[in-house]
Symmetry: C2
Subunit: 403 residues, 2 copies
């Protein structure tokens, strides 16, 4: 019996009408002869409302209690979806995270899955029962409820697909797939029929909000056949898998990220180990650094620039200033009026000229490049924030509008 | 270390202000040197809202899924109360029903507690941690979430008090104790400082909504020292225990119940076993019969009248009509424009003249008595519904306004 895991986000289950729509998608899949595990997020704004309630009572509420509170959201939507499926006359059971066997570490609000005891879900599936699982949650070894952090329900779905050896894991969202650029910015953006895990990871980390990186990383590790599609229309989405069949398209997408800040340390001593000192200091406070640019030494000093997420900017600056004497830089400056624009594609590594075509497009659109970073499958540039949309347009046109 | 179990109903935790008030009651108790277990219901109208959501999706939703849905309500209020206590700087942990060790049978939406694994709660208390338990819920042996039915959170509190050998179980409600009559009807009603379990059980079954019978029965069985009091003011409530010290007051209260219907079967054969046939038939459909009145046989027939709850009226009538041939009555009639008014008190059995004083009061108020039923500690009369309040007043005055 083939098995399909289907994940539905908060907007897909936000009201009775949407829940009925989701129930129809699930039962249609079931009628085609598949077993189905549905993973659900909390309805609509439930999570935000619960967070607001908690903040009113205690802005510094413990993470343990936050997990206790928030996990109820998914529990409710799982039960409501199960009832909706019951109303269509199908056998169905809902499970909380712990009932579905999700054991995590104890890092409340951002827990990692350690193990899934799949027996209960498997027993239900063996009876041809549709299984609805509350996403985003598990329990730790003390039997405390934990949650998986941002994108947690995607992770729940992919993890279940992995341990149950599902034939496919479908992530239903309010967009109908992965696009070569944000369709709200670039009307000519093209929906990809396929993309590789690595490409998807680069796109996600670049600000394409379709799938959270954790779930894609897990899909890659366990070779889960992922599909991103919309719950609002019945049409194919984008398939994410190890090797894609479509080789002719060199770049998979253009993404922009405006939640980024550049920090520059001026006149650092040009001695071995200085970069290590700077970045291990930042790492010790869990501040992720993205693009790094180190100037060629001038005499006995050099400058180092790097980007951090806008949210980490203040703590990074504070930390660096505290350590100015030890690191020995003359000055620090920061710019958060910037955007990172990137192109991603596995074909890039074997296609010389991609970078130059991107830079040409930017020049043609009169966009000044501040920093450049490249990898096997990605080229990112840092530009002024106000030029971000213009840059995405220009790059997209350069690669896709070839007639 | 003494232990107090405190239960807070839905209105006591309905918003931030009320939650803070409850947190203060709990921490004040803790500061006096007691360990505290707090049991909470779902906030305000949460349960009703969830039931309405479910009804929209599936009016015949399975009871299993209803339990999955509704139990989230208490989980949320437990977490919110724990956060509020955290904000006051006290050590606290919230537990769901299953985390607190509540194992029940599998009768979803009306489950009975089978066992409580108290280790987790006890371990927390031994560390002087305040424990907040989500009321109304448990799990069955399949690890499915169950709920305890009406008054379930009271039952949770009393059961915890019993297994933990608590010194006291305080039920906080929106009334400040048990009264000799409904104070909204009888302004001169007196708050009882003490009442016995049996008297409380009679009062509860007569429509006094303070405590659900199940919890009082459990308190009686395990000799739990119960107290009913209000969360809105700091003042003593009513204590419910085995033997009360106050013997001088003969009757404990006057109660009325207007959710009642009288059914009469006319001209039944006056043969042995006919009453058994009628009432076993009703029992087979779980229809509870309260007051029964059988006329003296006239020739070879007799009439039987009895009361059922108004909710059971239609199904009782239908059932009886279906079996008219077998039971052999000539006619059936029904009146739901009636009320049951009762007086309760352990002193009654040894005090002749109580009944006559009650009947005298009713006659003086020009209230016609349709049926009478008496027990060791209770006298109930059936009267016209519109006379119910007048009757309660008259009876109350006859017993309490003795100058």
């Amino acid at each position: 019996m083939s098995l399909i895991v289907q994940k539905f986000g908060g907007t897909s289950v936000m009201d009775a009408e949407r829940l009925r729509n989701v129930a129809r998608i699930i039962t249609r899949t079931y009628d085609r002869g598949h077993n189905v595990v549905a993973v659900v997020s909390a309805q609509g704004h439930t999570t935000d409302e619960l967070i607001a309630k908690a903040a009113e009572l205690n802005p510094k509420a413990s993470k343990r209690e936050m997990d206790m509170l928030l996990s109820a959201g998914e529990q409710m939507s799982a039960a409501l979806l199960a009832m909706t499926i019951e109303a269509l006359g199908y056998p169905v059971k809902s499970f909380t995270g712990w009932q579905a066997g999700f054991l995590t570490n104890s890092r409340h609000t951002n827990a990692k899955i350690k193990r899934i005891n799949k027996d209960r879900v498997e027993n239900a599936l063996n009876k041809r029962t549709i299984v609805v699982v509350a996403g985003f949650q598990g329990i730790n070894r003390f039997d405390d409820i934990t949650t998986l952090g941002r994108g947690g329900s995607d992770t729940t779905a992919v993890a279940l697909a992995a341990v149950l050896h599902a034939d496919r894991c479908q992530i239903y969202t309010d967009v109908d797939g992965v696009y070569t650029a944000d369709p709200r910015i670039v009307p000519t953006a093209v929906k990809l029929s396929e993309i590789s895990y690595d490409e998807m990871l680069e796109l996600a980390s670049l600000g394409a909000q379709v799938l959270h990186n954790r779930s894609v990383e897990m899909a890659k590790r366990y070779n889960v056949y992922l599909e991103v599609l919309t719950s609002l229309e019945e049409k194919p989405g984008t398939i994410i898998k190890e090797v894609t069949d479509v080789e002719k398209m060199i770049i998979r997408g253009v993404a922009k990220d405006t939640n980024v800040a550049r920090i520059s340390l001026m006149e650092l001593a040009d001695v071995p180990g200085i970069a290590f000192k700077v970045f291990s200091l930042l790492a010790s406070k869990s501040i992720n650094v993205d693009i790094i640019l180190q100037s060629i030494g001038r005499g006995d000093t050099k400058d180092i620039s790097f980007t951090v997420s806008a949210a980490d900017k203040d703590s990074a600056l504070e930390l660096l200033r505290e350590n100015q004497a030890r690191l020995g830089f003359s000055d620090i400056n920061c710019d958060d009026n910037i955007a990172k624009v990137s192109i991603v594609g596995a074909g890039m590594a074997t296609n010389p000229g991609i970078a130059s075509r991107m830079f040409e497009a930017l020049a043609g659109a009169n966009v000044n490049i501040q920093m450049i970073s490249t990898s096997e499958i990605k080229i990112s540039v840092l530009i002024e924030k106000s030029a971000a949309e213009r840059a995405v347009h220009a790059i997209h046109d350069a690669f896709y509008d070839l007639g």
